[in-house]
Amino acid sequence: EKLFHRRDRSDLEVAALPRAPPVADLPSAQEFLSKYGWTRRSPWPAAPPPAAAGPAFAEAVRGFQRVNGLPATGRLDEATVAAMNGPRCGVPDGPAGGPAPAGARPRAFPRR
């Protein structure tokens, strides 16, 4: 049987939900920064991340660290990765972000 820690087993309900792939390494961090507007390429819709880490990546990490109150080292440390994995809004932020895109309404909702 699955282990639960809450009387109402609500922690099991959360565990059963599909989990967002965590930011755990350089490629996923690059994708995160691109997705949320910390690199120059528009992340909306999500663009492929830069091919390799470099000065641009370090600068993007520094920008992200500054606005999150972290030491602006430009390195992917534990605190920075934790901030990337925290709950957040999907609208891009950072230098390449800005206001939410306008008018990108989805297509007509499909019938159930």
Binding site: N85, R88, G90, D93, F109
Partner: protein, 408 residues
């Protein structure tokens, strides 16, 4: 309306319609609870901007400005998929729709677990209205870290940000006054406190002077907070407060009501057993109706009544109108710096204990009346002169209407 960048930056209309789409209900909260949270979220923005939000409950094809929905993964034809539980909890389009990731554990504001749906909704609606992410501690537009604080509110900086897009709320008002309460401290000392109230139409606001904003959650319908008064459109309020007298009067049309502060409702009858409301001419002979505004001057013990371009004065001690009144407003209250003067047809007269001054309000502007302290500094100032007009919105902040459907 268009901003500096590509595309429009803000809605141009002042009443916007929204709908929680049926295909996009959350599986975690009841539909009623979801709608109630969203109504609260829209109302919070309405309380600080000249925008009103109306939930569209009619036909599905009825046009709406903002559609909100919950979805998982690839959802509702959206070009941007959600990522499952964790990280991205919602997204929004400027002047468009809001989607919430139903793989997140959204909870009602009263819960101490999960993600506060109200807070997330306020944030996403901010994007819809045109705000970007704001990386400032305390801002509702921070992209991440959704604290479980059920009592969050829009701080002054967030208010300023949205007001850059939509402007500030302003007058006119029907009546503005400080309501005096006397209390006894535990040590028997007599304490005098006051609250500042603004009335417009069918509702009112309590204004917190020290915090430069209205009480959270206002406005409230007049009928809710002021028992016995007409439901809307009051003309004036006067508090005759002097040695041995404490009389509070509300005016509308040709009638007046006397309010019982201790009982917190209008008196049913006057001292002769006659039912309220009473004719203004009966209690204040020589004073016309309907009135535009009025205030009690404690120094002269006169009530100044304003109607059109005229001012009437009533001596409460002598209980009669004062001659040579009526006078033209421009004469009784002359401009300090012509031509800045309301001329007539005031909206409200406000005797402010908070500011130690009297203000005459008309439309979106106010004129401060020259007081004794002003004349001590500059004896050349005319008695009862009116300083140049200032914007109401720059002294009293965020006194905003909400859509009637949003009133509790």
């Amino acid at each position: 309306r268009r901003g500096a960048g590509p595309g429009p930056s803000a809605f141009s209309r002042r009443t916007l319609r929204w709908r929680l789409v049926g295909e996009g209900y959350s599986s975690q909260l009841s539909v009623d609870e979801q709608r109630a949270v969203l109504r609260s979220a829209f109302r919070m923005w309405s309380e600080v901007t000249p925008l009103q939000f109306q939930e569209e409950l009619g036909a599905r094809a009825a046009p709406v400005d903002v559609r909100l929905a919950f979805g998982r993964g690839r959802h509702l034809g959206c070009p941007r998929a959600f990522d499952g539980s964790g990280q991205e909890f919602a997204h929004a389009w400027r002047l468009g729709d809001v989607h919430f990731d139903d793989d997140e554990h959204f909870t009602s504001p009263s819960s101490d677990r999960g993600l506060n749906l109200l807070r997330v909704a306020v944030h996403e609606i901010g994007h819809v209205l045109g705000l970007p992410h704001i990386h400032r501690p305390g801002s509702i537009m921070r992209p991440n870290s959704v604290p479980r604080d059920p009592g969050f509110e829009l701080d002054p900086a967030d208010r300023k940000a949205i007001q850059k897009l939509y402007g500030s709320c302003t007058g006119p008002f029907d009546a503005v006054f400080d309501w005096i309460r006397t209390e006894r401290s535990p040590f028997g000392e007599r304490l005098v406190r006051f609250n500042t109230y603004f009335f417009r139409g069918g509702w009112y606001w309590l204004y917190e002077n020290q915090k430069n904003r209205t009480r959270y959650g206002d406005p409230i319908p007049v009928v809710t907070g002021w028992r016995g008064l007409p439901a809307r459109d009051l003309d004036a309020f006067v508090h005759v407060w002097s040695w041995g007298r404490d009389e509070r009067y509300f005016f509308k049309g040709d009638r007046y009501w006397r309010y019982d502060s201790d009982g917190d409702r209008t008196y049913a009858e006057d001292e002769r057993g006659r039912a309220y409301p009473r004719p203004i001419s009966e209690r204040f002979p020589g004073i016309p109706s309907p009135l535009d505004a009025a205030f009690y001057d404690r120094r002269s013990q006169w009530i100044y009544f304003f109607k059109g371009a005229l001012v009437f004065a009533f001596d409460v001690q002598e209980n009669r109108a004062v001659s040579p009144y009526p006078q033209r407003l421009a004469v009784a209250f002359p401009a300090v710096a012509p031509p800045s003067h309301p001329a007539g047809h005031l909206d409200a007269a406000y005797h402010s204990y908070a500011h130690g001054a009297v203000f005459l309000l008309k439309g979106s502007r106010y004129w401060r009346v020259v007081g004794d302290a002003d004349r001590r500094r500059d004896p050349a100032l005319p008695v009862n002169g009116l300083f140049p007009a200032e914007p109401v919105s720059e002294r009293w902040f965020d006194i905003c209407d909400v859509h009637p459907s949003a009133l509790n």
